[in-house]
């Protein structure tokens, strides 16, 4: 490395010599240029400065297994860019693909901070992308606003402690305690034998859910449910016979779990084949997206899951004034696809960003933006966001309810997600009643 530098310098020198300029002249001229540059930076022209755009970084998994989380990106960001064009101060959104890979997420976040010099970072798609991006922001002192992962999986793996919170990174979403809460809120609506079979994947989410200290098991025992909890399975497994046998043996009328869509489809198909007929099936994560529910097929009717946003939420955008329903309809009109839960949250990230830039003393200065982030008090399309009231300093919670996928014979899409229990967030209206699963003879 050093050698090549020396070589370069020598080559440059030779070139200068051949032009008939000696070393001293070069130094004198170089010094003059430096002084001029210093002058320019000490007295910047205010007009030029005002025209410089504010840069926002946005990292999302556009490719890879978590790509469904980023599916609405083009739609949302396209709309937001149009809006930002009308602002007096240009705002530039720089989007990078994390490829659902933590290392890559970390790399592109570092690029955004160090090369593109963004003064605010946004990220909202599961821990694999959120956490490395937030870590880079904490390290390089740029404020980062994140969402779409239970707050524990954002706070705890990154080494956050209630008495030692983060300085630069802020998060809004619900937590594991809410997800457990909605199950206990929904299940008593149907008469069962209160025997629950739980199938969790052996991955960070599944292990958090199945944790014997803070997960689902202690909460269920406290609520007087009997729990059948086989050890956690490897993701992308092809055979769930062992779990299905255990659930059948114990006569589980409620089945729950946290798994990815392919695993759930394998599990549910095999459960049907092997004659497991529970009254309630509530699976988190696997049933988030209409596409994966639709691909489960005819047996998906009345499966239930967690709901963090639907177009029926009673909120509106602070950026466009659109209601949740209007945003959902605009998405379907633009893409011909059914709405998904991340749409509202991706939109809300840009609401927060616009609000922060509006209130920031100097939107190009990360520290000023951080001060504005901390003081956020905004009514967004996913609910109110104001840090300070959350479970820890850097986290504020958004409402969580439970929903059921109902077949819509006359609807534009095969299934519609209806909110069926709202005990934890009564401000969210109910769309229907919680129904028992039915089987053909």
């Amino acid at each position: 490395m050093k050698n090549s530098h020396d070589g370069n310098n020598r080559a440059k020198q030779n070139r200068r010599m051949s032009l008939g300029v000696d070393r001293r002249t070069v130094i004198r001229r170089g010094g003059g240029a430096l002084a001029a540059a210093a002058l320019a930076s000490t007295f910047p022209s205010p007009r030029i400065r005002a025209a410089q755009p504010v840069k926002i970084g946005y990292v999302s998994p556009q490719t890879g297994p978590l790509a469904p989380f980023a599916e609405a990106d083009d739609f949302i960001i396209g709309g937001v860019r149009e809006l930002f064009k009308k602002q007096s101060r240009p705002i530039e959104i720089i989007v990078k693909d994390s490829q659902t890979n933590s290392n890559r997420a970390s790399e592109v976040a570092a690029d955004l901070i160090l090369k593109d010099k963004v003064s605010l970072m946004l990220v909202g798609a599961a821990p694999e992308t959120n956490n490395p991006v937030a870590d880079q922001c904490e390290l390089n002192e740029v404020p980062c606003v994140s969402t779409v992962s239970p707050w524990q999986s954002w706070f705890i793996p990154r080494g956050g402690k209630p008495d030692k919170p983060f300085k630069w990174t802020y998060h809004y979403f619900w937590g594991l305690e809410d997800a457990i809460g909605i199950l206990l809120d929904m299940w008593p609506q149907i008469q069962t034998n209160r025997v629950v079979g739980a199938a969790f994947a052996n991955d960070p989410d599944g292990n958090a859910w199945g944790n014997d200290v803070f997960g689902l098991p202690p909460a269920l025992i406290k609520a007087k449910y009997k729990l059948i909890h086989p050890p956690h399975f490897q993701t992308l497994t092809d055979n769930f016979t062992s779990q299905i046998s255990a659930f059948k043996e114990a006569d589980c009328e409620i089945i729950t779990g946290n798994m990815i869509p392919p695993d759930f489809t394998t599990f549910w198909t095999q459960a049907y084949q092997q004659g497991l007929k529970p009254k309630i099936v509530t699976i988190t994560k696997a049933l988030l997206f209409p596409a994966s529910v639709e691909s489960v097929g005819d047996t998906a009717n009345n499966l239930s899951c967690e709901v963090w946003w639907t177009p029926h939420f009673p909120y509106k955008s602070s950026l466009t004034g659109q209601s949740a329903a209007q945003l959902g309809a605009a998405y379907t009109q633009a893409t011909k696809k059914q709405w998904t839960q991340p749409i509202g949250f991706v939109h809300s990230l840009f609401e927060v960003a616009a609000d922060v830039i509006k209130r920031s003393a100097d939107p190009r200065d990360p520290a000023a933006n951080l001060a504005a982030v901390i003081k956020t008090n905004l009514q967004t399309i996913v609910g109110p966001i104001a840090w300070g009231k959350g479970p820890v300093k850097n986290v504020v919670k958004t409402p969580l309810v439970s929903g059921q996928w109902r077949r819509t014979p006359n609807g534009p899409f095969k299934y519609e997600l209806l909110v069926v229990a709202n005990g934890l967030a009564p401000q969210i209206p109910l769309d229907g009643k919680f129904e028992v699963l039915t089987y053909k003879s």
Partner: protein, 289 residues
């Protein structure tokens, strides 16, 4: 009864694994090419079936009539137009090229079909089963997959050991130079081997797509099991591949019966044990000098 059920379900999954592995086994057996894009070709054929179903509105099994010849053609052109140029004494170029293909296929599928997961719908067959007693129920779909695996493997075995083409395959596999002296066109033989391999892959892909859901990135996970099945069964023997599939499926099922987290582990352990004591697999048939 519990154990009978466990073993039967495991063996049925093994049929699917064997079907996954057959194409890999054939390509590896004839050309010593490890096709790292094998899993992605499985997913690609499932997506081709999606297109066929959307275009002419048939059920997935009928779509096979279009997808299989199509993938046969893709295989032939792939080998003639690309992989033949990578073959030689060095095993690295085909590995790198197929690895690249894997990335390309995934991203092209993502671009064309988005990240949404899909499934080939076959409503009745998907969940139908025959119940034998309280603890034992055999799904029709897994059984059909198993039967298809046996038929496909039987057919290829017949081709390999009873036809001239099969003799050319085996000769080229054992000694390509001598085979050429006897008038065998190696390039054409290789292309036909890949074509047949991908035709089998397309059957596996469509059945896989009926069984569970798939998305553009799910392919590589399928490659590992297929690879293990080939090694357990032994090179060049397709009945060995079927046995390897069943062994892997049953091992996983028994592991999972003790503890669901041992599912994959039990399969890997069996694979390692075979590799330790029978490095050429249980029923090897090819000759490696």
């Amino acid at each position: 009864m519990y154990w009978i059920n466990t073993i039967i379900q495991g063996a049925l999954v093994g049929g699917l694994y064997a079907l996954f592995a057959t194409g890999l086994s054939l390509m590896f057996g004839v050309m010593r090419i490890i096709n790292l894009a094998h899993g992605d070709f499985i997913v690609l054929s499932a997506y081709l079936a999606v297109v066929v179903i959307n275009c002419i509105g048939v059920n997935p099994l009928v779509a096979l009539a279009v997808v299989v010849p199509l993938m046969f053609g893709v295989g032939y052109l792939l080998q003639r137009g690309l992989l033949n140029f990578t073959m030689g004494s060095d095993i690295l170029p085909p590995l790198l090229v197929t690895f690249g293909l894997s990335v390309v296929i995934q991203n092209v599928l993502l671009e064309l079909f988005s990240a949404d997961s899909r499934r080939l719908q076959l409503p009745w067959l998907e969940t139908a089963s025959v119940r034998i007693g309280d603890q034992l129920a055999i799904g029709l779909m897994p059984t059909s997959v198993f039967v298809v695996a046996v038929i496909v493997i039987g057919g290829i075995e017949f081709m390999l050991y009873r036809t001239d083409l099969g003799r050319a395959f085996r000769a080229t596999s054992d000694d390509p130079d001598t085979a050429r002296l006897y008038g065998v066109n190696n390039r054409n033989i290789y292309a036909l081997a890949t074509a047949i391999a991908l035709a089998v892959v397309s059957i596996a892909g469509v059945l896989f797509g009926i069984r569970t859901i798939f998305d553009p990135t799910i392919g590589p996970a399928r490659l590992l099991y297929a690879f293990e099945v080939v090694i357990i069964g032994g090179l060049g023997s397709l009945w060995g591949t079927l046995a390897g599939g069943i062994i892997l499926g049953v091992a996983q099922a028994i592991g999972a019966a003790f503890d669901p987290s041992w599912d994959t582990l039990a399969g890997h352990v069996v694979f390692l044990v075979v590799l330790l004591f029978r490095p050429r697999g249980l029923f090897p048939k090819t000759f490696d000098p």
